[in-house]
Amino acid sequence: MPDAAPLWATVILPVALVSVAVVTAGFDAVLSAAAVRGRPGSPREVGTWAAAPLREAFRLLAQQPRRTIAADVALGRIGVVLVPVAAVLAGAVLPLGFRPVSDPAVGIVWFNAMEALAWAAVWLTGWGPNSALSLIGGYRFLAQGLAYELPHMFAITTAALGAGSLRVGEVVAAQDGLWFAVWMPVAFLVYLLSAMAMSFWGPFGHPLGRDTAGGAAMELSGVDRLVLLGGRWLLMVVTAAVSVPLFLGGGNGPLLPPWAWTLLKTALVLAALVAGRRLLPTLRMERYTEFAWLVLVPATLLQALVVAVVVLNR
């Protein structure tokens, strides 16, 4: 059984999540800039590109806030702040190696509940400024949730089913020999899709789409904008990191210590998600909804059935 982490881990967790998010955003910025230039840059240029997200963060900190008429400031603020808060709370069950900040018996449900909070928060963000385009963005994210939440829930249920426990630590322990990603490939792939969808990212970026001038984030400026967009990176880092204990064997691996394996696997998943943004076009949600309900839900249910039969026969 994994031990509980010491108290300082509670302080370290948000710092660690933010640093990983900054590095990922930097990596993404380098890829974008290189794509615009059409060739890889010199080391010095790469450094400048990689620091772009940080420069943008400082710019937003100093930016003059913009107000809209008859805005529901309270609800909008709650929505903006709730995105990073929910991401960090969801990360509380995240084992670095084998030691999470907290390992409750229902860790997987906790993770899912916090994701749902972030889902509700983006609608609030779109609602707050009393602006049509941002409201459209908020509603787009609700529709997106209706498409991805069910397959996503079945996927993480499958991992819990394979381990016979909702405790993240026990899910990791159950993958000592064989990673869940190997014999639950459908659940793993659906999880990766929904990881992009819940951080409204890449092909699932319609809620913040350009056709609505930035959608839910349209009216946000200054610190508000920084908190929401930073929260989105945090959400992506946390969901990518949780795929490691759920499907990729957590800290299990030869030679390296468990925390190094966790970091390495998280980095690989994050790289896959960043690549996914470049490879796939933005999806309109009415299209993805039909695909999710007609293809992904039955597929994940069949996957759960296979896992259930294997577990019963063990």
């Binding site: 529901d72 309270a74 609800l75 709650i78 409750p104 018996a105 229902v106 449900v109 906790w110 899912n112 509940a113 749902a116 909070l117 889902w119 509700a120 609608w123 609030l124 609602w127 409201l135 509603y139 609700l142 529709a143 949730g145 209706l146 939440e149 909702l166 999806l283 009415e286 299209r287 993805y288 909804t289 039909e290 695909f291 007609l294 293809v295």
Partner: protein, 187 residues
């Protein structure tokens, strides 16, 4: 001591935000005040040591309230609740019903003889909850699930304006179906 403080903070917050549901004149604020109230209830359940139930309340209620926002747009006479509107309907009837229910519950609480705890809490409350729900009452649960699902399907079928003749034509042979929104399944 800490538990007492947490209990009272959550309890007061739950009741206060429950009251605010009826004080706000904005659909969005009322929805999220209700969500806050239900989240506090989830916290109280967590405090009782029922981890699974508590977290599931948080999960389900959040999703439920977000869905309410979707339905608000679909069915309300005031789409998206953009105009201020009263959350109070049938004031007198509601007051009578609420007072009666409250009086009945309070009497029950005061008059009932509360049993002392027997035995110990189980090591895995989620497991015991599942066994007591799904063990002897499996047939009830399955029937209930089917009944609920049938209700949902028939409600949607009854409320939709477009039937299969609109979609597939008079001889039901039009392929792909003539839908206002194309969808991505390629049917």
């Amino acid at each position: 001591m800490t538990e007492d403080i947490v209990f009272w903070v959550l309890a007061v917050l739950a009741v206060a935000s429950g009251v605010m549901v009826f004080r706000f004149d904005s659909m969005a604020r009322a929805t999220y005040a209700l969500l806050l109230s239900l989240l506090c209830v989830g916290g109280e359940v967590l405090l009782l040591g029922l981890d699974y139930l508590g977290v599931v309340i948080v999960l389900m209620m959040t999703i439920e309230m977000a869905l309410m926002a979707v339905f608000m747009v679909m069915f309300m006479m005031n789409p998206a609740g953009l105009m201020p509107m009263s959350m109070l309907h049938n004031k007198k009837g509601a007051a009578v019903i609420c007072t009666t229910v409250f009086a009945a519950l309070a009497t029950g609480i005061l008059l009932a003889r509360w049993p002392a705890r027997r035995g110990r809490p189980p090591t895995d409350p989620t497991m015991s909850l599942g066994m007591s729900l799904m063990g002897p009452q499996m047939l009830t649960m399955v029937t209930l699930g089917m009944a609920l699902f049938a209700t949902i399907v028939s409600t949607v079928v009854l409320s939709t304006r477009r039937g299969r003749y609109d979609r597939f034509g008079d001889d039901l042979r039009t392929r792909p179906a003539d839908d206002p929104v194309p969808g991505g399944g390629g049917r």
